[in-house]
């Protein structure tokens, strides 16, 4: 850390560009004014962070969340979204800045407890979660290895990010506790959860599959999320409403509308592929649970195309949930 609070951000940036690694700064080329503004907004000088270090952070963020060939507009959109003040605070904490830890404590200690209790739905467990996370943040940062805070990139608020980390910790803890259940209990519980063996292969009209693929592809990603969350993942209307910041009745209406529209699209798709209306309706309504269609590879292929783009060297934007910790 070095404090260059006397020189202007532009001067520092110019110096950084002149002496720094051009390749490293390349994603942000042409965005000097934006970076200078963000530097001022971030209050980085308060924690002694120079604009070179700040620019390095932004390069790291861009490299993590954008493909190498991302255009200036994509970079600008991303940087405009970044919570630079939170990012600077997190990095200062990681660097062991006492003032930053004081700010962190005063700002997030209580909200961590609140978040812990909200996640665990239990007072003592919530406090335990929060204390455990705080110990990780502080202990790892001061003694050994990298603090989980070092993986915070400013995407989403720091408070929200801490909440997410805590929720993952809660899920992991819940999962590990389930593993400790006795073998007999687990086998009894697990029996209900085991997927039924695949049914013997049966012929399925490929037009139905194609029409379904087509109709699902035409849906907005958020609509697909709504359908899958409600019908497959058993999310409640209330949960979906909170996730999408909508009212429950709005979510309910949207699911109604999407489902009805999807059925129509599938029927139309089948009709375009040569089915009569009656055949299409029958194909859609018939119970096909015992039919096995191997489209997994195709769906995975589609999903891979839409996966989050990793950087050239790593895929931190698409890592396992535990990687953050």
């Amino acid at each position: 850390m070095s404090g260059n609070s006397n020189s202007s951000p532009d001067d520092e940036l110019a110096a950084g560009l002149a002496t720094g690694n051009n390749v490293r700064l390349n994603p942000l080329a042409g965005l000097h004014t934006l970076i200078a503004d963000l530097f001022t907004t971030s209050e980085a000088t308060r924690f002694g962070l120079s604009i070179e270090l700040f620019t390095g952070m932004l390069v790291e963020v861009a490299a993590k969340y954008l493909p190498p060939d991302a255009g200036a507009e994509a970079v600008r959109e991303l940087l405009a979204t970044i919570h630079v003040k939170d990012l600077v605070l997190a990095r200062a904490c990681v660097a062991g800045n006492e003032a930053a830890w004081e700010v962190f404590l005063s700002r997030y200690r209580e909200s961590l407890y609140d978040a812990g209790m909200a996640i665990a739905k239990d007072h003592s467990l919530g406090r335990e979660l929060a204390d455990s996370l705080y110990a990780d943040l502080w202990g790892a940062g001061s003694a050994h290895g990298a603090s989980p805070l070092s993986s915070y990139m400013g995407y989403g608020s720091l408070e929200g990010w801490l909440r997410t980390i805590m929720a993952r910790s809660f899920i992991d803890r819940y999962r590990s506790q389930r593993r400790l259940v006795s073998l007999e209990e687990e086998s009894q519980q697990g029996r209900e959860l085991v997927s039924p063996p695949p049914a013997p292969g049966a012929a399925v009209d490929p037009r139905l599959e194609e029409a379904t693929d087509e109709a699902l592809g035409m849906l907005d990603a958020e609509d697909r999320f709504l359908l899958a969350s409600f019908f497959l993942h058993d999310r409640t209307l209330g949960e979906l409403a909170r996730i999408l910041r909508l009212h429950e009745s709005t979510v309910s209406r949207r699911i109604h509308k999407i489902t009805a529209g999807l059925r129509k699209q599938i029927v139309r798709g089948m009709m375009r592929r040569g089915m009569s209306r009656r055949q299409a309706d029958e194909a859609l309504e018939s119970d096909v649970r015992d039919l096995q269609i191997n489209v997994r590879a195709r769906l995975q292929e589609n999903l891979q195309e839409t996966q989050i783009r990793p950087s050239s060297q790593q895929r931190p934007g698409a890592q396992k949930p535990q990687d953050d910790e």
């Binding site: 969340y65 994509a74 959109e77 909440r163 993952r168 019908f231 993942h233 949960e239 009745s249 769906l299």
Partner: protein, 344 residues
């Protein structure tokens, strides 16, 4: 809830178990609504496929007040989308318009011939009313005096005429273009007065009703609508565009500047019989109890802090109860003819 076609369910199921999970930042941004377009589709598609992340997102979504906040809107939309209700609303609106037109014609036919005397009749209730249009009165020069104007005043001030409702008064005032730079304090004042029934009760102890709003034509080169005379021989008052106090003794045909101690531009005027209040830049406030013959400077002070912002509105319900509104949105109230003030 309708059933999802089984084939769709199967497609979703097959996609489950995605390999790479979005990092905590992306999920947080999704919950906070700050996810960029670059990542939006990818994250949502992952949540379709990954039950673990789907559950995680549900867990981190904070409890929000949005439910209670939006519910009334949804409820309103629901009943209003009922077709008969929609047509009934259209019919009711048409009926109101027709009735208003008919009443307007009858009124014009009956009142215009006796306009000058009728205008005098409105005066006892007009001091407050005359001020409200000042709120957002456009700074346009007054058109040349027309004989019909007094009739117009009279027509709207006839006691039997139903007063505009509080909402209509607000709408009438807000529908006018705002004078440049003086909107904030005025709107704050108006909003406060309109939203607080007790304020009207205090200002009009006898009725508790909001005053009527009358679209007043401005006098020559005046900023504000003139304050109507409170008696057959009493003058009309107004503020000129330059912020000077002026008076007309011939019902608005000619206007003469009135000397006041203040040199700053005036923005607000209240006339109630012999009681005149004027307010202007930097908290300037003067009070005359003898129809402008002499003036007393008044400095509204609350908790030792005097008013310092430009005074944009003054309204007095009677000699004792009055309000002033400043450009920065402060509302000051007095219950003792300006001897003491409280800041709302």
């Amino acid at each position: 809830m309708p059933e999802l076609p089984e084939v769709v369910r199967r497609h979703f199921s097959r996609a489950m178990g995605g390999e790479d999970h979005p990092d905590a930042g992306l999920l947080t941004a999704l919950i906070e609504g700050t996810l960029t377009q670059t990542h939006r589709a990818a994250v949502f598609d992952h949540l379709v496929a990954c039950s673990e992340c789907n559950r995680l997102v549900a867990l981190i979504a904070p409890e929000r007040e949005v439910t209670s906040a939006v519910q009334p809107v949804e409820a309103r939309r629901r009943w209003f989308t009922w077709t008969p209700v929609r047509w009934a609303a259209v019919g009711a609106a048409l009926a109101v318009v027709i009735i208003a037109v008919v009443i307007g014609r009858i009124d014009r036919q009956t009142v215009v011939p006796g306009a000058p005397s009728a205008r005098v009749e409105q005066v006892p209730t007009a001091s407050m009313s005359a001020q409200l249009p000042v709120l957002v009165q456009p700074r346009t020069p007054r058109p040349s005096s027309k004989p019909a104007q007094p009739a117009s005043h009279a027509r709207q001030g006839v006691p039997s005429q139903p007063a505009l409702s509080r909402g209509a008064a607000l709408a009438a005032a807000q529908s006018r273009p705002a004078a440049s730079g003086d909107v904030l304090g005025e709107n704050a004042f108006q909003t406060s007065m309109m939203s607080d029934p007790s304020a009207w009760a205090e200002l009009s102890p006898s009725t508790g009703e909001p005053p009527t709003v009358k679209p007043e034509p401005a006098p020559a080169a005046s900023v504000t609508a003139p304050a109507l005379p409170t008696g057959p021989t009493e003058p009309m008052w107004s503020l000129s565009e330059a912020g000077m106090l002026q008076k007309s003794n011939d019902r608005g045909h000619t206007w003469a500047a009135v000397a006041v101690p203040s040199r700053v531009p005036l923005h607000a005027l209240s006339v109630l019989g012999q009681e005149i209040w004027i307010g202007g830049d930097q908290g300037t406030l003067y009070h005359s109890t003898d129809a402008g013959q002499s003036w007393t400077a008044v400095v509204p002070t609350a908790n030792g802090v005097p008013v310092s912002a430009d005074i944009m509105r003054i309204a007095f319900a009677d000699q004792r109860h009055g309000w002033i509104a400043t450009r920065n949105g402060e509302i000051w109230k007095t219950r003792d003819s300006g001897a003491t003030w409280s800041l709302k």
